[in-house]
Subunit: 466 residues, 2 copies
C-alpha cells in the first residue's frame, strides 16, 4: 500500500502534496503503468486523511495525464507517453545567448593548454610502448597513485591506489555502482539535486526515492522512513542550493548508513576544489571509509570534454567490485591517463586549481557587487556561496517559472531555475534563479546583471527597478 | 518448466548434454539460486527421456557444486560461491612470456605515432576553443561524418552521421544497447564466441541464451527455438572459430529478425579491416538497415588503449535511443575525437589499414609455413583464415585442455584454447589451440613454433615429433 508521510508537506495543501508523492512513485517505477490505485476510501483510511483529499489528488493527476479512469473500475497509472519523434539533429554550435548563466564551461583562457600540450608530447616520446599496453580495469596505477597523493595532500584523505577506479565520466561510474549494488537497491536522491542520477537509475532499472532537503541538507528523518539503502549527497557544496552540510547532519547520515550492511553513502565532491573562504570540513569518506564512496571528476576542474572521473571505494566494496566488475576494460584512453598523471604529480593540477580559485573568487565578488548595486537587490534574497561557481537568487516575484524562462530568453539570458533540478514540481522552489557564473566573463558581468533586471521589470516592484 | 532440445546434443551423451543445458540456465540466471528443480520423474516425462538420464545429469551437477540436495526435498540450485578474497593488486607489467599468442597487442612499430602526434598538435593549435565545448551525446559530428564516409567508401554502407553513436569502447556501447532493449530482452550469444557479452548481460541483469555454431555460423534452427530476440554475431570473421558466414545463413538470420518488431541483430565487424584475400561479403547492415546494429572499434585497428568504438543504429532505433539515452554525455574525450576525425578524413586511417594488412598477411604466411614444416603438421588440422590475426589448430592429442595450458606455461608460451571462449565446457571444443599472431614478431615465429612443438612432445605422436 502506498504510504506517505503528509506531515512533510510543509506549506503545500494536503491533496497537492499527496499528488506529488504519487507522481514520484509513478516516475520512479514503484507504481507501474496500468497499475490500479487503491480506492479513494481505502487510501484515505490508510493515510488518515479525508476521502476528499485523496479525490482531489487523484483528480489533479488525471488532469495532468498521469492517471486515467475506467468507469466503475477506479484509477489507473497512465502508460508512459510515446517518446516524441526525434528532432533533426541539432548542429554542434551551441545556441547563442548574450549571457549564459547555465552552461558549465570554463573559459579557454583558464585551461593551462601549454603545459598540457607539453606533457602530452612528453608522454608521446617517453611512454611509447606503454601506450599500447592494455590498461588495468581500475585505470593506470601511475594515475591512481597521483590521485591518492593529491587526496592525501589536499583533502586529508588516506586511500590506497587499489581503492580507486578511473572511468570515462561520473555518469559512467554511477552506472558501474548501480550494477554493483544490484537491482534490489534503492537510491535516495536529494530534492532538489542531481536529477540526472534518477535518469541513470531509470535506465538501469534501479528504483529511487527523492528525499527533500532542509537548510542542513538531505532530511535524515525522511530518509529513515524511505526504502533507500544508498544515498547520493554533495555535503561539501550541494548543487543547486549551495548548502554545506553541517557536522551534526553528517553524523546522522553516517549513523543511518551504519545501521545496515548494505547501506552506503555516495559523496559527490565535484566542487570541493573551488573553495573561496573558510576551512573545508573533512569529507564524509574521511569520517567513515567503510560506508562512503567518494566520487570526483576532472571534467569540472580541467575541461568538460576531458572525460576522466574517479571514485574511491571502501575496501570491502572494492573486493566485490573486483570480483564482479573487473572484466570491464578501463574506459579512459591511456594517453590521457598518462598525461593527467604527470599533470597532477608534477604539481600543475594544484597550481591550476589555485589559479581557478582566485579567478572565480574575483568573478563571484563582481557578481555580488553588481547585484547589490542593482534594484534587484531589494526584491531578492541572495544566497552567498563560499564554494563553487553558482549562486541562488530567491526572487520576490509574481512571475511563474515559465514566464521567467520566457523573459530570460527574450533578454538573451540563459539561466536555470531551482525547479529545473526538482524531480517533482513544487511551489516551494519557484521563483529561484540559479546563476552559474563560470561562463560569464568578468567584463560582461555589469551588462549581464542589467539583462537580469529586464526580466523582472514590469513585475510588482517595477518602481524599485525605476 | 525447463525445456531443452536434446536432439541438439550431437555426439555428447544425453545426460551430459542435459547437464550443460541446466548449467547454462543457472549461469544465465534463468534458474535462480536456491530454486528447486523439478523432480527427476517430472523432468524426465517433460523432456521424453529416462529418469536415469535426468538422475545422471543432476548427479553430475551436484558433483560439480552447481546443485545441492536436501534429503527428501529434491535438488536445488547452489547459491553462487562467495567471491574469492581480492588478490593483491597485480603490478602493471604484463606477465612475461617468451611468446604471447593470446594478447591482442599490435606492435608499437605499426602504430603511425608520428602522424598521430602531428594531428594531435594540429588539433591543439586549431581547435582550442572547441575543445572546451560539451560534446553531443552521439559524439562529435566531424568524427561521425568521417566514419560515415569511411563506411561508405570501404564497406559500401550508406549511413547518416545521425545514426552513429561514438563511445568509450564496445563494452560501453553494448551496455547502452542492453539498457535500450530493456530488461525483457534476451540476448543470443554464439557458443563458442564473445563470452564477455554474457558477463556484461549478467551485470545488467539481462538474460541470455547461448546458441551453438555449426560450420556456417550460429545455428538459426536453435535460435528460432530460443527465447532470444537480439543476436550477437560476427559474420565477417567469427572469433575464435574463424567462420565466415555464408550468404544463405545470413539470409536465414535476417528472416528470423524480420519475424518480430523487437528482434535485432548486432553485427560485430571488429576484424573486417584485416581481410587478406578475396572479396568481403556485404555487411548484414547493408542487407537490412532496419534490423541490424553495426558495431566496430578503433581499439583493434589502431591501439587497444585508445577507447573509441562506434555503433550504427537503424533509424527507428536511433529515435528511441535519442529519447531515452541522450541524457548520457558522450564518454570519449573531444581531443581524441578531433584527432581521430582528422586521421580518418585525411586518408591516414585507410593507409594505416593497408599497411597493417600487408604486415599481418606476411606474418600469417610465416606462421603457416613454419607450422607446415613442423612435426605438428601431422597431428593438427590447421584452419586457414582469410581475415584477422588468429588461426585455430585442432590437435590430435590426448592431452586435456588443462594439461595443454600447464605445458604451455612451462614452455613460456601464452596461448588460448577454444574452450576458453565457451560458456559451457564441451568435449567438442577440447584440444583446439587458438593462436593470435598479432603480438608475435615475424622473426620470433620459427622459435615460437618450436615451443608449440614442445607442448605436445611426449603425447601420442611423440615419434612423429622426432
Amino acid at each position: 500500500m502506498m504510504t506517505y508521510d503528509l506531515e512533510l508537506r510543509g506549506a503545500q495543501p494536503k491533496y497537492e502534496y499527496l499528488s506529488r508523492c504519487i507522481l514520484s512513485d509513478i516516475r520512479s517505477g514503484a507504481l507501474a503503468a496500468d497499475e490500479r490505485l487503491p480506492s479513494k476510501r481505502v487510501l484515505a483510511e490508510h493515510l488518515g486523511v479525508s476521502v476528499t483529499t485523496v479525490e482531489n489528488a487523484y483528480t489533479l493527476l488525471v488532469s495532468e495525464g498521469h492517471l486515467y479512469t475506467r468507469s466503475k473500475h477506479g484509477f489507473f497509472v497512465s502508460p508512459r507517453p510515446a517518446p516524441p519523434p526525434a528532432p533533426a539533429e541539432r548542429s554542434e554550435a551551441a545556441e547563442q545567448y548574450l549571457f549564459d548563466f547555465k552552461a558549465n564551461r570554463c573559459s579557454m583562457s583558464l585551461f593551462p593548454l601549454n603545459t598540457w600540450t607539453r606533457l602530452m608530447r612528453k608522454v608521446l616520446s617517453d611512454q611509447d610502448d606503454e601506450l599500447l599496453q592494455t590498461v588495468p580495469f581500475r585505470g593506470l596505477l601511475v594515475l591512481r597513485r597521483a590521485i591518492a597523493d593529491y587526496l592525501y595532500g589536499c583533502r586529508g584523505m588516506s586511500v590506497s591506489p587499489g581503492q580507486i577506479v578511473v572511468g570515462a565520466g561520473t555518469e559512467y561510474l554511477y552506472g558501474k555502482l548501480l550494477q554493483l549494488f544490484g537491482p534490489q537497491s534503492v537510491i535516495a536522491i536529494e530534492e532538489p539535486g542531481y536529477k540526472k542520477f534518477a535518469e541513470i537509475s531509470n535506465s538501469y532499472g534501479t528504483l529511487w526515492d527523492y528525499i527533500p532537503m532542509d537548510e542542513s541538507g538531505i532530511r535524515t528523518d525522511v530518509l529513515a522512513r524511505s526504502r533507500a539503502n544508498v544515498v547520493h549527497v554533495s555535503p561539501g557544496n550541494h548543487f543547486p542550493t549551495g548548502t554545506v552540510m553541517p557536522a551534526a547532519r553528517r553524523r546522522e547520515l553516517l549513523e543511518w548508513a551504519r545501521e545496515a550492511p548494505d547501506r552506503y553513502l555516495i559523496e559527490d565532491d565535484y566542487d570541493s576544489e573551488l573553495r573561496f573562504s573558510g576551512q573545508a570540513l573533512p569529507t564524509l569518506f574521511s569520517q567513515d571509509g567503510r560506508k562512503v564512496i567518494y566520487m570526483n571528476t576532472f571534467s569540472k576542474s580541467l575541461v568538460p570534454s576531458l572525460r576522466i572521473s574517479y571514485m574511491v571505494l571502501p575496501e570491502a566494496l572494492m573486493e566485490l567490485y573486483e570480483s564482479r566488475m573487473s572484466f570491464y576494460s578501463c574506459s579512459v584512453s591511456s594517453f590521457e591517463q598518462y598525461t593527467l598523471a604527470k599533470f597532477i604529480s608534477q604539481g600543475y593540477f594544484e597550481r591550476h586549481i589555485n589559479r581557478l580559485r582566485r579567478h572565480y573568487r574575483r568573478r563571484k565578488e563582481l557578481m555580488e557587487e553588481a547585484l547589490a548595486a542593482s534594484p534587484l537587490a531589494s526584491v531578492c534574497d541572495m544566497r552567498r556561496c563560499s564554494v563553487g561557481t553558482h549562486m541562488v537568487l530567491r526572487m520576490d516575484t509574481r512571475l511563474s517559472d515559465g514566464e521567467i524562462r520566457r523573459r530570460a530568453g527574450e533578454a538573451g539570458v540563459h539561466l536555470a531555475l531551482m525547479s529545473d533540478y526538482c524531480l517533482v514540481p513544487s511551489i516551494a522552489y519557484s521563483g529561484q534563479v540559479v546563476l552559474n557564473f563560470a561562463s560569464v566573463e568578468p567584463e560582461q558581468i555589469p551588462m549581464a546583471v542589467r539583462q537580469l533586471e529586464r526580466i523582472f521589470s514590469g513585475d510588482i516592484d517595477l518602481k524599485k527597478l525605476s
